[in-house]
Symmetry: C2
């Protein structure tokens, strides 16, 4: 199991903030990666989700650095992809292949396509997945798909629901990488982590999104999770 000290978190939205904040609290050195750091810092209005601007959020975590995707990837020995699925491949490409080589990429993104209205469909599914696309595009990286089936606040605090008695899924080709990621997830409080197998099993977790979105509507809250009862 690899010893990780520095982590890059790609994405400044709710998922990126949730992961960056928790990792910083746990003592990791964290750099958030974004397309244009100056533009991100210059924003003074709430973002499209109504969350405070990044610069305001970051005042809670003065240790967290901000840089370009390339700077963040060069900084981190592990990369968390918390960008919107539609832009994930481009964000990772702009990080530079050499900055990702041999590193673990924790891929939380989902290939949600909002272009045809609500509810979103998936831009890739069934015989392929975004997790596989990322692994194919960066064959020297070690992609571990996980955390993509739950709300951003539950990702890093599973105990707020049913004392943590619900299930997290994990997919990836590299056993050592999955072991490292599992350790990290356990430090967030996850107790029931199911390793589904290689990265092709990411199809299954990404295809949970359509029912996840409908359940959000039906239950009126995103604070739910799946438990595999067995």
């Amino acid at each position: 199991m690899e010893q990780i000290a520095k982590i890059a978190v790609f994405g400044t939205g709710p998922v990126g903030r949730s992961l960056a904040g928790k990792l910083s609290q746990l003592g990791y050195q964290v750099m958030v990666g974004t397309r244009d750091a100056q533009a991100t810092l210059a924003r003074s209005e709430p973002d499209s989700s109504g969350d405070p601007p990044f610069s305001v959020w970051r005042t809670q975590y003065p240790g967290i650095k901000l840089g370009s995707f390339s700077e963040a990837a060069a900084f981190g020995s592990l990369i968390v992809n918390a960008t919107a699925g539609i832009g994930s491949i481009e964000a990772l490409k702009s990080a530079g292949e050499k900055n990702l080589s041999q590193k673990i990429i924790i891929d939380i993104s989902n290939p949600l396509d909002f272009s045809r209205g609500m509810p979103p469909s998936l831009s890739v599914c069934n015989t392929d997945s975004l997790g596989e696309e990322i692994q194919r595009t960066f064959p020297d990286a070690k992609v571990v798909k996980t955390l993509n089936t739950i709300n951003s606040s539950l990702m890093v605090a599973p105990n707020q629901l049913s004392a943590g008695n619900h299930t997290l899924f994990m997919s990836g080709n590299d056993e050592d990488a999955k072991s490292t990621v599992k350790g990290l997830l356990e430090s967030f409080g996850w107790k029931d982590i199911i390793d589904l197998g290689d990265i092709t099993t990411a199809r299954g977790t990404e295809m949970l999104l359509p029912i996840w979105i409908r359940l959000w509507g039906t239950l009126g809250s995103p604070l739910f999770s799946f438990k595999v009862v067995r």
Copy 2:
């Protein structure tokens, strides 16, 4: 809520047998529908799943009738579609549209496509579903999609797992039909039934199949179910 006495169950495989057997035990009059009743009864070898031939299975349930899809649909005031997804539209068409008109169709089928090997992919998903296809093909019927996310033995005996503390999903356009079906499901022992909304929400439950199939492999048993923890 409609009073149902006679039920048609389409399909002679594990799902059809499970439903027909349970409904018969509960006191309903049941006719199983199949493409060719004579051929079904003539078989004396175990089927492709290794289950005993239909004629042997039926000795446990002497009250259960067997007929063509058309005969069964004419007999039942509610139809259970437990055929393989790949043949469901054809089976329902051969039943005759007038025999389905105004009736509830409980659709348990999944659009699994084994033609490209294992694991199967889905023949329809993402922006459509088999449940919707059936509803579009038979606009006068009341399609309720349910039970398609669990193993056949759990469908009618949810209490064998975690005292029944797991979740069943339901989709359909007709509120009265869903209310009737909910009553039937509760008589099987289901306690946590989530109505996801109209028939388009069947996309979500059918798209659970890819992770279901991988979990079957990982857990080594099909006796598991999803609980929506909230």
